[in-house]
Symmetry: none
Subunit: 401 residues, 2 copies
């Protein structure tokens, strides 16, 4: 039985409130053997007080040893098996810039490239063109007109942009046109499966018109297309869990991921304090709140241990405002670890804290990697966290008689 | 998504070195409640020092409660799901005696039996014939000649031998001819699936000729055939992990298992010290070293607690030579537990130690069952160990964007 078949069957409604705070890249490493992690170093009196009445464990984002990107990292926390639900590169890119994909859309990641006079690629990244130079070119590509298909083009960063094709009968199975090398022309768009032939034709027409629009550009006079993908077919929170869910995030990527599972994006907060205010203001309207805090990841990516410690302390400081709302279930976790030591996402289990009246607290006195290692939740795959959230909220009946 | 699809996609190359030391049957039990296990009893200063900068956990060979044989035990450690990849009995028997199976081979386990004058089986194990008596008979069966098929016969032990048929169009799906009872004749070889009819015919011809060659033997005048199996189709280490791998083992079974996943068998070591020397000599040539130490299992099987303790100390003594090589990732584990108390393989999680710069060490001060129980790797299925090895070696990109 699929996990969501189970949740569809077991879900019951009540007036409980579940809060999931995702501190992106929360887990860490010491900078030297015998040292403390970022979370262990931070002064976190409020999180520690919650640990004393909660239960901890280590969340494995995908499988042991697998470091995820933001997409699979969040899908796991949301209860969608990240190996089963795969978001295509185009769809993730569109999601990341806040483009709301519809059911008739195919999203594509576009790359500007430099073509020689013979039409062969001389630079796959258009001479590392700056965003300032490339953005107007992406906007210019909106002039492409294809009968029966709406075409959207959005700048991303440097040589990258997003194309979304919207129309009837567009499949997402088209090969990349990037030949992954120079000295050859871009490949022609070609369907990899039956049902995507129209997409390939439309993409070919897009390339023809776009190349004309780019003619004469010194760097970006050509383009390649990658990661053709439809809107991912994710069942909604409402359907699988019976939860009316709100997402409170600052960055478009996380709003986008939340939207894919049917959460409402609420507020326009730019700071953590404002995010909490949005939660307070919307408290009565939702059953579930996903709050995303970005900076524990970005500081880790920068390898800035001290800055990550400080961001964790910033998170700790707002916890009294969250507990004051008296959520039935409060979860603090991360979508993966981002140790400053590695300056990248990692596979290490993420310290995860769950507080509820019936959580079987484990006697921890701090929230940390070392406490979560011996905590009552043990190590578990992230995809099971929502099951624990719902049961602790009294929102599950029992399985079988 | 299959685990190996994941590793194929995520693998990256670098110049890291991974060492996996498999102390066969490492895990144990105390001889009485409240006592210590073999590993906890042994004096292991070097392993304990490694534990102080490593991370530990309990490796579950197959699933909780399942005690594996050597085949599934090692497949798990090598990262091949032992419930998905099944090595047929014939193939395992051939592997165990060092017979190198080829792609056109079908391996069969043969049993000598005693037939009455009416051709019915009177003893399924040929009166528990000794190896000294049976080996020449197995060699005699090499006289069997079948047009278009090469026939290999190898003695094993007591009433057992191996037959390998090599030729075009031989399938491995043939029913056993052992009726599992006496008072009836051996069954005729019969294909269980389309495509193995030729194998059944060849096997029938083998039985006819072999029975003539055995005529007049007092004990072993007949034979049955079991476990028809082709060479297992295991993808190689090179393909799924991008690793050039070496196996350093003394016993044919473990060399054979390593060969099945594409490892090179290096050296002709007969002792543990010689095995380490082989590793030193081949250090620059490989990315991955599998070193197999047999005697922690055989002493456990004998129920000799003290001898197993001593063998563990023998392993501990060579560890400085291993650490001197400065492997990027060093793993010490076992393919299963073999508690002296049980005198057999068991299902208990196997203490497993992983040491790397980024392993998130867990503050253990000893390598043992009790330390691994609260270690940072928690309990995990053996099949995930290679994922941890590769990520700790920096040989994985991240999954999804």
């Amino acid at each position: 039985m699929d996990m969501h078949d189970l949740t569809r069957n077991l879900q019951t409604k009540n007036d409980s409130k579940i809060v999931m705070i995702v501190a992106d890249g929360l887990g860490g490493l010491p900078m030297m053997p015998g040292g403390l992690t970022e979370l262990e170093t931070a002064q976190t009196p409020n999180l520690n007080a919650l640990a004393a009445r909660g239960v901890q464990g280590g969340s494995i984002p995908v499988k042991p040893g697998i470091a995820p990107g933001s997409g699979p990292g969040h899908l796991g926390l949301f209860g969608y098996d990240p190996l089963e639900y795969v978001i295509g590169r185009g769809a993730l890119e569109a999601t990341g810039i806040g483009f709301e994909l519809g059911p008739k859309d195919v999203a594509i990641r576009g790359n500007f490239c430099t073509l020689g006079p013979d039409g062969k690629i001389t630079d796959r990244r258009a001479g590392r063109i700056s965003s300032e130079e490339s953005a107007p070119l992406a906007v210019k590509l909106r002039e492409v007109k294809i009968p029966g298909v709406e075409v959207f083009v959005e700048p991303v960063k440097e040589h990258r942009f997003v194309v979304v094709l919207r129309g009837e009968g567009l499949g997402g199975d088209v090969h990349d046109t990037d030949p992954q090398t120079t000295g050859v022309p871009p490949l022609k768009p070609k369907a990899s499966k039956h049902g995507s032939e129209k997409t390939a034709e439309v993409a070919a027409e897009f390339v023809t018109q776009a190349t004309k629009l780019l003619a004469g550009q010194p760097k970006a006079n050509g383009l390649t297309l990658r990661g053709f993908s439809p809107r991912p077919a994710l069942p909604s929170y409402d359907e699988v869990y019976g939860l009316k869910a709100a997402a409170i995030a600052v960055y478009p990527m996380y709003k986008g991921l939340a939207r894919l599972v049917g959460m409402d994006i609420v507020g326009k907060a730019q700071t953590l304090d404002e995010q909490i205010t949005v939660m307070e203001e919307n408290w009565s309207k939702y059953d579930f709140f996903f709050l995303h805090f970005k900076y524990t990841d970005s500081t880790g990516e920068d390898g800035n241990f001290a800055a990550k410690v400080k961001r964790i302390e910033e998170l700790d400081a707002v916890m009294p405002r969250v507990t004051k709302l008296n959520p039935t279930v409060l979860i603090v976790t991360g979508d993966h670890s981002t140790p400053s030591f590695l300056k990248s996402h990692s596979w290490h289990p993420v310290p995860t804290l769950l507080v509820s009246d019936c959580c079987r607290f484990d006697g921890s006195t701090e929230f940390s990697e070392r406490a979560s290692r011996i905590g009552g939740l043990s190590q578990f795959e992230a995809k099971y966290l929502m099951l624990l959230a719902l049961s602790n909220a009294g929102r599950f009946g029992k399985y079988g008689a």
